[in-house]
Protein backbone atom coordinates (compact mmCIF):
# COMPACT_ATOMS: atom_id res chain seq x y z
CA UNK A 1 0.00 0.00 0.00
CA UNK A 2 3.01 2.29 0.49
CA UNK A 3 3.29 2.57 -3.32
CA UNK A 4 0.03 4.51 -3.37
CA UNK A 5 1.65 7.37 -1.52
CA UNK A 6 4.61 7.96 -3.84
CA UNK A 7 4.92 11.15 -5.85
CA UNK A 8 4.59 9.04 -9.04
CA UNK A 9 1.25 7.74 -7.98
CA UNK A 10 0.03 11.24 -7.13
CA UNK A 11 1.26 12.53 -10.51
CA UNK A 12 -0.80 9.85 -12.22
CA UNK A 13 -3.96 10.64 -10.28
CA UNK A 14 -4.44 14.38 -10.68
CA UNK A 15 -8.13 15.33 -10.84
CA UNK A 16 -9.13 15.78 -14.49
CA UNK A 17 -10.96 18.98 -13.62
CA UNK A 18 -7.56 20.67 -13.07
CA UNK A 19 -6.55 19.53 -16.51
CA UNK A 20 -9.73 20.89 -18.07
CA UNK A 21 -9.39 24.21 -16.22
CA UNK A 22 -5.76 24.61 -17.30
CA UNK A 23 -6.67 23.76 -20.91
CA UNK A 24 -9.42 26.37 -20.90
CA UNK A 25 -7.18 29.08 -19.43
CA UNK A 26 -4.37 28.33 -21.88
CA UNK A 27 -6.76 28.58 -24.82
CA UNK A 28 -8.26 31.88 -23.67
CA UNK A 29 -4.95 33.67 -22.95
CA UNK A 30 -3.72 33.92 -26.57
CA UNK A 31 -7.19 35.01 -27.71
CA UNK A 32 -7.04 37.93 -25.24
CA UNK A 33 -3.33 38.64 -25.70
CA UNK A 34 -2.21 37.51 -29.20
CA UNK A 35 1.45 36.51 -29.39
CA UNK A 36 1.85 37.15 -33.12
CA UNK A 37 4.73 34.71 -33.56
CA UNK A 38 6.10 34.13 -37.08
CA UNK A 39 5.35 30.87 -38.91
CA UNK A 40 7.67 28.75 -41.02
CA UNK A 41 6.30 27.61 -44.37
CA UNK A 42 6.48 23.89 -45.16
CA UNK A 43 7.09 22.17 -48.49
CA UNK A 44 3.45 21.06 -48.86
CA UNK A 45 2.23 24.66 -48.60
CA UNK A 46 4.81 25.92 -51.10
CA UNK A 47 3.76 23.18 -53.53
CA UNK A 48 0.09 24.12 -53.01
CA UNK A 49 0.78 27.79 -53.69
CA UNK A 50 2.97 27.09 -56.71
CA UNK A 51 0.31 24.85 -58.30
CA UNK A 52 -2.07 27.84 -58.32
CA UNK A 53 0.54 30.48 -59.05
CA UNK A 54 1.99 28.72 -62.10
CA UNK A 55 -1.34 28.30 -63.89
CA UNK A 56 -1.49 30.19 -67.19
CA UNK A 57 -4.11 32.92 -67.54
CA UNK A 58 -7.56 31.58 -68.43
CA UNK A 59 -6.96 28.18 -66.81
CA UNK A 60 -9.95 26.37 -65.31
CA UNK A 61 -9.77 25.38 -61.65
CA UNK A 62 -12.31 22.95 -60.18
CA UNK A 63 -12.82 23.20 -56.43
CA UNK A 64 -14.38 20.13 -54.84
CA UNK A 65 -15.46 21.92 -51.69
CA UNK A 66 -16.11 19.27 -49.05
CA UNK A 67 -15.36 21.37 -45.97
CA UNK A 68 -17.51 20.91 -42.88
CA UNK A 69 -19.07 23.73 -40.87
CA UNK A 70 -18.30 21.82 -37.69
CA UNK A 71 -14.56 21.91 -38.44
CA UNK A 72 -14.44 25.47 -39.65
CA UNK A 73 -11.54 26.38 -37.36
CA UNK A 74 -9.36 23.79 -39.07
CA UNK A 75 -10.15 24.77 -42.66
CA UNK A 76 -11.42 28.34 -42.79
CA UNK A 77 -7.94 29.85 -43.10
CA UNK A 78 -7.12 27.36 -45.87
CA UNK A 79 -10.10 27.96 -48.10
CA UNK A 80 -10.33 31.73 -47.61
CA UNK A 81 -6.66 32.10 -48.56
CA UNK A 82 -7.17 29.75 -51.52
CA UNK A 83 -10.17 31.69 -52.83
CA UNK A 84 -8.26 34.97 -52.52
CA UNK A 85 -5.36 33.51 -54.48
CA UNK A 86 -7.73 32.17 -57.16
CA UNK A 87 -9.67 35.41 -57.55
CA UNK A 88 -6.48 37.50 -57.62
CA UNK A 89 -5.52 35.68 -60.82
CA UNK A 90 -7.05 35.43 -64.28
CA UNK A 91 -8.60 32.01 -63.69
CA UNK A 92 -12.00 30.38 -64.17
CA UNK A 93 -13.19 28.77 -60.94
CA UNK A 94 -15.78 26.00 -60.75
CA UNK A 95 -17.05 25.15 -57.26
CA UNK A 96 -18.98 21.98 -56.47
CA UNK A 97 -19.97 20.46 -53.14
CA UNK A 98 -19.84 16.76 -52.25
CA UNK A 99 -21.13 17.59 -48.73
CA UNK A 100 -24.33 19.42 -47.77
CA UNK A 101 -22.33 21.81 -45.60
CA UNK A 102 -20.28 22.98 -48.56
CA UNK A 103 -23.07 24.84 -50.34
CA UNK A 104 -24.23 26.54 -47.16
CA UNK A 105 -20.67 27.51 -46.28
CA UNK A 106 -20.12 28.93 -49.75
CA UNK A 107 -23.28 30.98 -49.26
CA UNK A 108 -22.08 32.36 -45.93
CA UNK A 109 -18.39 32.79 -46.75
CA UNK A 110 -18.26 33.57 -50.48
CA UNK A 111 -19.47 37.10 -50.95
CA UNK A 112 -19.01 38.01 -47.29
CA UNK A 113 -15.50 36.95 -46.28
CA UNK A 114 -14.13 36.86 -49.83
CA UNK A 115 -16.02 39.05 -52.30
CA UNK A 116 -15.36 37.98 -55.92
CA UNK A 117 -16.73 41.30 -57.24
CA UNK A 118 -14.00 43.16 -55.39
CA UNK A 119 -11.50 41.25 -57.55
CA UNK A 120 -13.49 42.17 -60.67
CA UNK A 121 -14.96 38.68 -61.00
CA UNK A 122 -18.41 38.13 -62.45
CA UNK A 123 -20.61 35.15 -61.64
CA UNK A 124 -21.13 32.92 -64.68
CA UNK A 125 -18.14 34.39 -66.50
CA UNK A 126 -15.28 33.96 -64.02
CA UNK A 127 -16.73 31.59 -61.46
CA UNK A 128 -19.65 29.21 -61.11
CA UNK A 129 -21.07 27.36 -58.12
CA UNK A 130 -22.67 24.03 -59.05
CA UNK A 131 -23.98 23.25 -55.57
CA UNK A 132 -24.46 20.04 -53.67
CA UNK A 133 -24.64 16.51 -55.02
CA UNK A 134 -24.05 13.37 -52.92
CA UNK A 135 -20.88 12.57 -54.84
CA UNK A 136 -18.43 10.34 -52.98
CA UNK A 137 -15.86 8.53 -55.09
CA UNK A 138 -18.36 7.47 -57.77
CA UNK A 139 -19.53 11.06 -58.06
CA UNK A 140 -15.97 12.29 -58.52
CA UNK A 141 -15.62 9.68 -61.30
CA UNK A 142 -18.86 10.88 -62.82
CA UNK A 143 -17.73 14.52 -62.69
CA UNK A 144 -14.55 13.53 -64.49
CA UNK A 145 -16.48 11.81 -67.27
CA UNK A 146 -19.24 14.36 -67.79
CA UNK A 147 -19.96 17.32 -65.51
CA UNK A 148 -23.42 17.76 -67.05
CA UNK A 149 -24.21 14.17 -66.20
CA UNK A 150 -24.19 15.17 -62.53
CA UNK A 151 -25.19 18.84 -62.72
CA UNK A 152 -27.56 20.21 -65.33
CA UNK A 153 -27.96 23.54 -63.51
CA UNK A 154 -25.93 25.65 -61.10
CA UNK A 155 -26.93 26.11 -57.44
CA UNK A 156 -29.51 28.76 -58.37
CA UNK A 157 -31.15 26.62 -61.04
CA UNK A 158 -29.59 28.32 -64.06
CA UNK A 159 -28.92 25.75 -66.83
CA UNK A 160 -25.18 25.25 -67.26
CA UNK A 161 -25.48 25.92 -70.99
CA UNK A 162 -26.70 29.45 -70.17
CA UNK A 163 -23.52 30.27 -68.22
CA UNK A 164 -20.79 31.68 -70.51
CA UNK A 165 -17.95 30.16 -68.45
CA UNK A 166 -19.39 26.66 -68.79
CA UNK A 167 -19.51 26.78 -72.59
CA UNK A 168 -16.35 24.71 -73.09
CA UNK A 169 -16.19 22.97 -69.73
CA UNK A 170 -17.59 19.47 -69.92
CA UNK A 171 -15.27 16.99 -68.21
CA UNK A 172 -11.95 16.49 -66.42
CA UNK A 173 -10.17 17.06 -69.73
CA UNK A 174 -11.21 20.72 -69.53
CA UNK A 175 -9.95 21.20 -65.97
CA UNK A 176 -6.38 22.47 -65.47
CA UNK A 177 -6.22 22.09 -61.68
CA UNK A 178 -8.35 20.28 -59.11
CA UNK A 179 -8.44 21.60 -55.54
CA UNK A 180 -9.91 18.86 -53.38
CA UNK A 181 -11.13 20.04 -49.96
CA UNK A 182 -12.22 17.24 -47.62
CA UNK A 183 -12.57 16.20 -43.98
CA UNK A 184 -12.58 12.39 -44.07
CA UNK A 185 -8.91 11.32 -44.15
CA UNK A 186 -9.24 8.42 -46.62
CA UNK A 187 -11.06 10.61 -49.16
CA UNK A 188 -7.64 11.74 -50.42
CA UNK A 189 -7.76 8.66 -52.63
CA UNK A 190 -10.92 9.79 -54.46
CA UNK A 191 -9.29 12.46 -56.66
CA UNK A 192 -6.17 10.35 -57.09
CA UNK A 193 -8.12 7.37 -58.39
CA UNK A 194 -10.72 9.33 -60.39
CA UNK A 195 -8.88 12.44 -61.62
CA UNK A 196 -5.12 11.99 -61.35
CA UNK A 197 -4.75 8.42 -62.61
CA UNK A 198 -7.16 8.52 -65.58
CA UNK A 199 -6.80 12.17 -66.68
CA UNK A 200 -3.45 13.25 -65.17
CA UNK A 201 -5.23 16.31 -63.73
CA UNK A 202 -2.85 18.35 -61.54
CA UNK A 203 -4.32 18.16 -58.05
CA UNK A 204 -3.77 19.84 -54.69
CA UNK A 205 -5.65 19.07 -51.50
CA UNK A 206 -6.72 20.82 -48.30
CA UNK A 207 -7.74 18.85 -45.25
CA UNK A 208 -7.68 18.61 -41.46
CA UNK A 209 -4.50 18.59 -39.38
CA UNK A 210 -4.99 14.95 -38.44
CA UNK A 211 -5.34 13.92 -42.12
CA UNK A 212 -1.96 15.36 -43.19
CA UNK A 213 -0.01 12.14 -42.57
CA UNK A 214 -2.41 10.22 -44.85
CA UNK A 215 -2.03 12.78 -47.64
CA UNK A 216 1.76 13.05 -47.40
CA UNK A 217 2.51 9.69 -49.13
CA UNK A 218 0.94 11.09 -52.33
CA UNK A 219 3.07 14.25 -52.28
CA UNK A 220 4.69 15.39 -54.58
CA UNK A 221 4.00 12.68 -57.19
CA UNK A 222 0.21 12.43 -57.29
CA UNK A 223 -0.63 15.70 -55.53
CA UNK A 224 1.49 18.78 -56.10
CA UNK A 225 0.84 20.29 -52.68
CA UNK A 226 -1.27 19.91 -49.56
CA UNK A 227 -2.59 21.88 -46.61
CA UNK A 228 -3.44 20.11 -43.38
CA UNK A 229 -5.05 22.01 -40.54
CA UNK A 230 -5.18 25.68 -39.67
CA UNK A 231 -1.39 25.71 -39.23
CA UNK A 232 -0.78 25.18 -42.93
CA UNK A 233 -3.72 27.50 -43.69
CA UNK A 234 -1.80 30.18 -41.82
CA UNK A 235 1.32 29.28 -43.77
CA UNK A 236 -0.60 29.85 -47.02
CA UNK A 237 -1.83 33.21 -45.74
CA UNK A 238 1.77 34.23 -45.01
CA UNK A 239 3.37 32.74 -48.14
CA UNK A 240 0.63 33.98 -50.47
CA UNK A 241 0.38 37.35 -48.70
CA UNK A 242 -3.37 37.00 -48.23
CA UNK A 243 -4.06 37.77 -44.54
CA UNK A 244 -6.98 35.97 -42.90
CA UNK A 245 -8.19 34.28 -39.71
CA UNK A 246 -5.34 31.73 -39.58
CA UNK A 247 -3.01 33.92 -37.53
CA UNK A 248 -5.50 34.08 -34.63
CA UNK A 249 -6.04 30.30 -34.78
CA UNK A 250 -2.31 29.56 -34.75
CA UNK A 251 -1.94 31.92 -31.83
CA UNK A 252 -4.57 30.01 -29.85
CA UNK A 253 -2.67 26.79 -30.51
CA UNK A 254 0.59 28.27 -29.20
CA UNK A 255 -0.39 28.07 -25.56
CA UNK A 256 -3.38 25.75 -25.93
CA UNK A 257 -1.04 22.85 -26.65
CA UNK A 258 0.93 23.33 -23.41
CA UNK A 259 -1.50 21.56 -21.02
CA UNK A 260 -1.52 18.66 -23.45
CA UNK A 261 2.28 18.52 -23.20
CA UNK A 262 2.47 18.98 -19.42
CA UNK A 263 -0.04 16.26 -18.71
CA UNK A 264 1.58 13.95 -21.25
CA UNK A 265 4.86 14.40 -19.35
CA UNK A 266 3.15 13.98 -15.94
CA UNK A 267 1.38 10.84 -17.09
CA UNK A 268 4.59 9.27 -18.36
CA UNK A 269 6.65 10.27 -15.32
CA UNK A 270 3.99 8.60 -13.19
CA UNK A 271 4.00 5.51 -15.42
CA UNK A 272 7.81 5.16 -15.43
CA UNK A 273 8.15 6.01 -11.74
CA UNK A 274 5.59 3.38 -10.80
CA UNK A 275 6.94 0.80 -13.22
CA UNK A 276 10.55 1.01 -12.00
CA UNK A 277 9.46 1.81 -8.42
CA UNK A 278 11.61 4.94 -8.18
CA UNK A 279 11.92 6.16 -4.61
CA UNK A 280 10.42 2.99 -3.12
CA UNK A 281 12.65 1.27 -0.56
CA UNK A 282 13.27 -2.41 -1.29
CA UNK A 283 11.88 -4.72 1.35
Amino acid sequence: MSNNKTIWHKLGNIDYRWLYALSLICTIIPILYPLGLPVQVSGGTIGYFDAIDKLPAGSVVAVSFGASAQLLDEQEAQFLATWKLLFQRDLKVLFYNPLQDGTLMLQTELGKQVIPASYGKVYGEDYVVLGYAPLGEAGEASMGINIRGVYTTDWKGTPLNDLPMMKDINSAKDIDLLIFVYTSCTDVEFPIRQWVTPYKTPTIIATLGCCGPMAAPYYPTQIQGFLSGSGMGTELEVYGRVPGPGAAMSDAKNIGVLPFLFFFIFGNLSYIGNRYKWGVKKQ
Binding site: S23, G43, L104, G139, G231, K253, N254, V257, F263, Y271
Partner: protein, 213 residues
Protein backbone atom coordinates in the same frame (compact mmCIF):
# COMPACT_ATOMS: atom_id res chain seq x y z
CA UNK B 1 -38.91 -14.72 -52.22
CA UNK B 2 -37.15 -17.41 -54.21
CA UNK B 3 -33.45 -18.18 -53.78
CA UNK B 4 -32.75 -16.82 -57.27
CA UNK B 5 -34.26 -13.40 -56.63
CA UNK B 6 -32.94 -13.17 -53.08
CA UNK B 7 -29.32 -14.23 -53.63
CA UNK B 8 -28.37 -15.12 -57.19
CA UNK B 9 -29.84 -12.15 -59.06
CA UNK B 10 -28.08 -9.51 -56.88
CA UNK B 11 -24.76 -11.36 -57.34
CA UNK B 12 -25.28 -11.56 -61.10
CA UNK B 13 -26.15 -7.85 -61.31
CA UNK B 14 -23.21 -6.83 -59.11
CA UNK B 15 -20.81 -9.01 -61.10
CA UNK B 16 -22.13 -7.72 -64.42
CA UNK B 17 -21.76 -4.09 -63.28
CA UNK B 18 -18.25 -4.80 -62.00
CA UNK B 19 -17.14 -6.53 -65.22
CA UNK B 20 -18.53 -3.66 -67.32
CA UNK B 21 -16.68 -1.05 -65.23
CA UNK B 22 -13.42 -3.00 -65.39
CA UNK B 23 -13.81 -3.49 -69.15
CA UNK B 24 -14.57 0.22 -69.64
CA UNK B 25 -11.37 1.12 -67.80
CA UNK B 26 -9.16 -0.99 -70.05
CA UNK B 27 -11.01 -0.85 -73.42
CA UNK B 28 -11.34 2.53 -75.19
CA UNK B 29 -14.59 1.45 -76.91
CA UNK B 30 -17.15 4.28 -76.92
CA UNK B 31 -20.30 2.24 -76.07
CA UNK B 32 -18.50 0.92 -72.98
CA UNK B 33 -17.48 4.45 -72.01
CA UNK B 34 -21.11 5.58 -72.39
CA UNK B 35 -22.28 2.75 -70.13
CA UNK B 36 -19.60 3.65 -67.58
CA UNK B 37 -20.75 7.30 -67.60
CA UNK B 38 -24.39 6.26 -67.22
CA UNK B 39 -23.65 3.86 -64.38
CA UNK B 40 -21.53 6.33 -62.43
CA UNK B 41 -24.43 8.81 -62.70
CA UNK B 42 -26.75 6.13 -61.34
CA UNK B 43 -24.47 5.78 -58.32
CA UNK B 44 -24.95 9.46 -57.52
CA UNK B 45 -28.74 8.97 -57.68
CA UNK B 46 -28.52 5.82 -55.52
CA UNK B 47 -26.38 7.75 -53.00
CA UNK B 48 -29.12 10.37 -52.76
CA UNK B 49 -31.69 7.63 -52.10
CA UNK B 50 -29.54 6.19 -49.30
CA UNK B 51 -29.89 9.49 -47.41
CA UNK B 52 -33.64 8.84 -47.21
CA UNK B 53 -32.94 5.24 -46.20
CA UNK B 54 -30.66 6.52 -43.44
CA UNK B 55 -33.58 8.54 -42.08
CA UNK B 56 -35.75 5.41 -42.01
CA UNK B 57 -33.02 3.41 -40.23
CA UNK B 58 -32.51 6.22 -37.72
CA UNK B 59 -36.23 6.24 -36.95
CA UNK B 60 -36.24 2.47 -36.43
CA UNK B 61 -33.22 2.69 -34.14
CA UNK B 62 -34.74 5.56 -32.14
CA UNK B 63 -38.00 3.66 -31.63
CA UNK B 64 -36.11 0.54 -30.50
CA UNK B 65 -34.02 2.56 -28.05
CA UNK B 66 -37.12 4.15 -26.56
CA UNK B 67 -38.87 0.78 -26.26
CA UNK B 68 -35.88 -0.55 -24.32
CA UNK B 69 -35.68 2.48 -22.04
CA UNK B 70 -39.05 4.17 -21.59
CA UNK B 71 -37.91 7.18 -19.58
CA UNK B 72 -38.61 10.88 -20.05
CA UNK B 73 -34.95 11.56 -20.79
CA UNK B 74 -34.88 8.92 -23.53
CA UNK B 75 -38.08 10.39 -24.96
CA UNK B 76 -36.38 13.79 -25.14
CA UNK B 77 -33.38 12.19 -26.88
CA UNK B 78 -35.72 10.49 -29.32
CA UNK B 79 -37.80 13.56 -30.15
CA UNK B 80 -34.99 16.16 -30.36
CA UNK B 81 -33.55 15.08 -33.76
CA UNK B 82 -37.02 15.17 -35.30
CA UNK B 83 -37.76 18.64 -33.93
CA UNK B 84 -34.64 19.98 -35.60
CA UNK B 85 -35.19 17.91 -38.74
CA UNK B 86 -38.70 19.37 -39.04
CA UNK B 87 -37.40 22.89 -38.37
CA UNK B 88 -34.74 22.63 -41.06
CA UNK B 89 -37.08 20.96 -43.54
CA UNK B 90 -39.90 23.46 -43.05
CA UNK B 91 -37.61 26.46 -43.32
CA UNK B 92 -36.18 25.03 -46.56
CA UNK B 93 -39.63 24.26 -48.00
CA UNK B 94 -41.74 27.25 -46.97
CA UNK B 95 -39.42 30.27 -46.99
CA UNK B 96 -38.86 31.89 -50.40
CA UNK B 97 -35.45 30.88 -51.70
CA UNK B 98 -35.57 27.49 -49.99
CA UNK B 99 -32.24 26.38 -48.57
CA UNK B 100 -30.70 29.65 -49.81
CA UNK B 101 -33.14 31.78 -47.83
CA UNK B 102 -31.83 33.91 -44.91
CA UNK B 103 -34.12 31.95 -42.56
CA UNK B 104 -32.53 28.63 -43.48
CA UNK B 105 -29.11 30.25 -43.23
CA UNK B 106 -30.04 31.36 -39.71
CA UNK B 107 -30.74 27.76 -38.66
CA UNK B 108 -27.49 26.68 -40.24
CA UNK B 109 -25.27 29.46 -38.87
CA UNK B 110 -26.74 29.69 -35.39
CA UNK B 111 -27.60 26.10 -34.56
CA UNK B 112 -25.94 23.50 -36.77
CA UNK B 113 -22.50 25.14 -37.02
CA UNK B 114 -22.34 26.02 -33.34
CA UNK B 115 -23.51 22.63 -32.10
CA UNK B 116 -20.97 20.89 -34.32
CA UNK B 117 -18.16 23.23 -33.28
CA UNK B 118 -19.06 22.68 -29.61
CA UNK B 119 -18.79 18.90 -29.98
CA UNK B 120 -15.33 19.23 -31.52
CA UNK B 121 -14.31 21.78 -28.88
CA UNK B 122 -15.24 19.30 -26.14
CA UNK B 123 -12.98 16.81 -27.89
CA UNK B 124 -10.07 19.12 -27.08
CA UNK B 125 -10.56 18.35 -23.39
CA UNK B 126 -11.01 14.67 -24.09
CA UNK B 127 -7.76 14.64 -26.05
CA UNK B 128 -5.91 16.40 -23.25
CA UNK B 129 -7.13 13.88 -20.68
CA UNK B 130 -6.38 10.94 -22.99
CA UNK B 131 -2.83 12.27 -23.42
CA UNK B 132 -2.58 12.07 -19.64
CA UNK B 133 -4.12 8.62 -19.26
CA UNK B 134 -3.11 6.61 -22.32
CA UNK B 135 -0.09 8.13 -24.11
CA UNK B 136 2.38 5.93 -22.24
CA UNK B 137 5.88 4.97 -23.37
CA UNK B 138 5.13 1.36 -22.51
CA UNK B 139 6.88 -0.29 -25.49
CA UNK B 140 9.20 0.54 -28.38
CA UNK B 141 6.22 0.74 -30.77
CA UNK B 142 4.28 3.07 -28.47
CA UNK B 143 7.36 5.24 -27.94
CA UNK B 144 7.94 5.53 -31.70
CA UNK B 145 4.28 6.44 -32.26
CA UNK B 146 4.33 9.05 -29.52
CA UNK B 147 7.64 10.55 -30.69
CA UNK B 148 6.44 10.84 -34.29
CA UNK B 149 3.03 12.22 -33.31
CA UNK B 150 4.46 14.72 -30.84
CA UNK B 151 7.12 16.04 -33.20
CA UNK B 152 4.63 16.35 -36.08
CA UNK B 153 2.17 18.16 -33.81
CA UNK B 154 4.70 20.51 -32.25
CA UNK B 155 6.18 21.26 -35.67
CA UNK B 156 2.88 22.97 -36.57
CA UNK B 157 2.86 25.24 -33.52
CA UNK B 158 4.55 28.64 -34.11
CA UNK B 159 5.75 28.76 -30.48
CA UNK B 160 7.92 25.69 -31.06
CA UNK B 161 8.91 26.81 -34.56
CA UNK B 162 10.37 29.96 -33.03
CA UNK B 163 12.00 28.63 -29.86
CA UNK B 164 12.97 25.14 -31.07
CA UNK B 165 13.64 25.68 -34.79
CA UNK B 166 15.21 22.22 -35.15
CA UNK B 167 11.71 20.74 -34.76
CA UNK B 168 10.65 22.05 -38.19
CA UNK B 169 13.00 19.95 -40.37
CA UNK B 170 12.60 17.03 -37.97
CA UNK B 171 8.79 17.20 -38.20
CA UNK B 172 8.98 17.44 -42.00
CA UNK B 173 11.33 14.46 -42.04
CA UNK B 174 8.93 12.39 -39.93
CA UNK B 175 6.06 13.33 -42.22
CA UNK B 176 7.78 12.84 -45.56
CA UNK B 177 10.16 9.94 -44.88
CA UNK B 178 9.02 7.32 -42.31
CA UNK B 179 5.34 8.28 -42.62
CA UNK B 180 5.44 8.31 -46.42
CA UNK B 181 7.38 5.04 -46.62
CA UNK B 182 5.07 3.26 -44.21
CA UNK B 183 1.96 4.92 -45.65
CA UNK B 184 2.76 3.88 -49.22
CA UNK B 185 3.35 0.32 -48.07
CA UNK B 186 0.00 0.30 -46.27
CA UNK B 187 -1.81 1.79 -49.29
CA UNK B 188 -0.33 -0.79 -51.67
CA UNK B 189 -1.18 -3.63 -49.27
CA UNK B 190 -4.76 -2.34 -48.86
CA UNK B 191 -5.12 -1.93 -52.65
CA UNK B 192 -4.00 -5.51 -53.27
CA UNK B 193 -6.40 -6.76 -50.60
CA UNK B 194 -9.22 -4.72 -52.15
CA UNK B 195 -8.36 -6.25 -55.53
CA UNK B 196 -8.70 -9.75 -54.10
CA UNK B 197 -12.02 -8.89 -52.43
CA UNK B 198 -13.19 -7.27 -55.69
CA UNK B 199 -12.37 -10.35 -57.76
CA UNK B 200 -14.06 -12.60 -55.19
CA UNK B 201 -17.13 -10.34 -55.25
CA UNK B 202 -17.30 -10.39 -59.06
CA UNK B 203 -17.01 -14.17 -58.91
CA UNK B 204 -19.75 -14.39 -56.29
CA UNK B 205 -17.36 -16.03 -53.86
CA UNK B 206 -17.10 -13.28 -51.26
CA UNK B 207 -18.12 -14.63 -47.85
CA UNK B 208 -20.63 -11.82 -47.22
CA UNK B 209 -22.51 -12.80 -50.38
CA UNK B 210 -22.65 -16.53 -49.69
CA UNK B 211 -25.89 -18.09 -48.52
CA UNK B 212 -25.67 -19.30 -44.96
CA UNK B 213 -27.18 -22.65 -43.97
Amino acid sequence: MSYFFKKQLPIILASLAGVLMVAAYFLPWQPLQDIKGLMTNWIVVISAATVAMGFVYMTTAQIKMYQKNKTTLQLIYTITPYVFFTGFALSAVFYPGGSQSPEYQWWFSNIYSNVGATIYAIMYFTLASSAYRTFRVSSIEATALIAGGMIYTLRQIPLFQVYTPWIVPLGEWFLLVPNTGGGRGAVIAAALAALVVGIRTLWGKEATLEVQG
